[in-house]
Amino acid sequence: MKLTQEEEEMLAGKMGEAKRWAIDHQVKVGRMFDALDLVPVSQAHMMVDPESVGDAGVSFLERLAATGAKVAIPMITDPRGVDLNYYHPLGQSEEMANLDRRTIAACSAMGILMTNTCINYQTIMPPVKGDHVAFGDTGVVIYSNSVCGARSNFEGGPSALAAGLTGRTPRYGLHLDEKRQATRLFVVDEPPRELTDWGVLGAVIGRMVGSYWEVPVIEGIEAVPTSDELKHMGAAMASYGSTPLFHIVGITPEAPTLAAVGGNALTVEHVTKDDLTALRSRFGSKGDKIDVVVFAAPQLSLVEMQALSRLCSGKKLKVPTLVCTSPQVYADATRMKLVAEIEGAGAKVLEGTCFYNQYAREIGEANGWTRLLSNSAKIVNILGGYGYQPALASMEECVAAALAGEIV
């Protein structure tokens, strides 16, 4: 890799141990992906939840912070593993909370902004077209690439941190024009209607694509989707397919036409109603009992919080119900009494967490929850590996099920 003089100095340790570690990490990763150099990035976003970081990772962060390391660019964080105002009732331990407290202290010391959100593109500072960034959380990356036209690879926590410290990232993958061209062409026969439909569509395409290095382009979506709809579609596509970028012809910024993303010669693949039904059929059916309802993954926007509050208004839910949103939305939703409306029905709104990265296995075991219902196509994909039997339904159906104790 070609390094500038400043980068060579970082690598030689002349700018401190943290930057030396960071650029050494970037060179190792860059070499494996044939990066020719590093590209400056405007922001970094790091997944650093304690369940995945563990004691080893937190100790690593503390060692870096102890050297006086500071991030070189604005750097923000993904959801935390513990809502420090509400963890005992979920069966989370003091040890988990302490790991989170240590993480927050180490990151804050390095100048990282603890935004604790996976919807930063809706709430913090959305990147702009052509903006090179180093974002973690697959849902954040796919949305930023596809809907904003920004340029990011999936940057896991260590790599996002390295980018924050050096202000750069290896130039490979989606930082390159040629890797952003479409490789698969899908025509949607049945346009999605509500949020869960968008998630299911994303899930089906993600499964069909199944690789980080494929770029789907989609035709057949006529009405311009909302940000929340694309959020659910992208999050599910990234979850099922490890997919970091999609184009929708006539809608997303890099695909005004099919030709603009090199899609004219691609073979058409149809996404049929049967494909969507087949995916849904894996996740529960009417009459199934449920232990817990979860709204999360991605965190709910203010608009979703309002929709949920309307459904909960005046109701008494029988089934424990958790709602995860960002600290930014939480503050607004509290002020606008949406949180009070939702919690008045017996649900609990968690601030700055997302259910699947807050020790979902341990929470499930502590509360005897296995049959979980959600409107997130992403979360039902993840939680099968955490000992749950996940089921999928729309937001409205989830609330109805929470009232009835079973899927209705």
């Binding site: 995945s52 563990g54 959380d137 590996g385």
Partner: protein, 136 residues
């Protein structure tokens, strides 16, 4: 002995026993990391212990968490020795770089999940881009 050429990888030279499946991989989605077994019922390696094995799989899937998780798993001594893919994704390579775990992909002779069989003893040399089947 058979040498398989691949792209240059990350991590140290290691030797160990292969555990192979034509399936994909995510540390978050597929593993019970406390007990060191594949825990996702739909995974082809469901129930199999992975500690100190050379995992041979098709590609990486899912989220970014695996980047921290390989480091965390290795710190507790319950981790694969190496992972070989047909095509790695960015997250797993970043995770292997932090954890100093051997990882290689893009094998010249084709599908690595058919070139290598479970139980074979392998030498993985990421710096050379070579994996040697040293014992069947």
């Amino acid at each position: 002995m058979r040498e398989l050429k691949c792209h240059l990888g990350v991590g140290p030279l290691v030797e160990g026993e292969a555990l192979v499946a034509d399936d994909n991989f995510s540390a978050r989605y597929d593993l019970d990391r406390i007990n060191g077994v594949f825990s996702r019922p739909q995974h082809k390696l469901f129930g199999q212990p992975y500690k100190d094995r050379v995992l041979v799989l098709n590609t990486a899937k899912g989220g970014v968490a695996s980047a921290w998780m390989l480091h965390e798993m290795k710190s507790r001594g319950i981790a694969p020795l190496a992972i070989l893919f047909n095509a790695a994704n960015t997250i797993l390579v970043q995770g292997a770089a932090l954890a100093d775990m051997a990882m290689c992909d893009r094998f010249v002779d084709g599908d690595v999940t058919t070139l290598i069989k479970t139980g074979q003893r392998l030498r993985v040399e990421p710096a050379r881009g070579v994996v040697t089947i040293i014992e069947s």
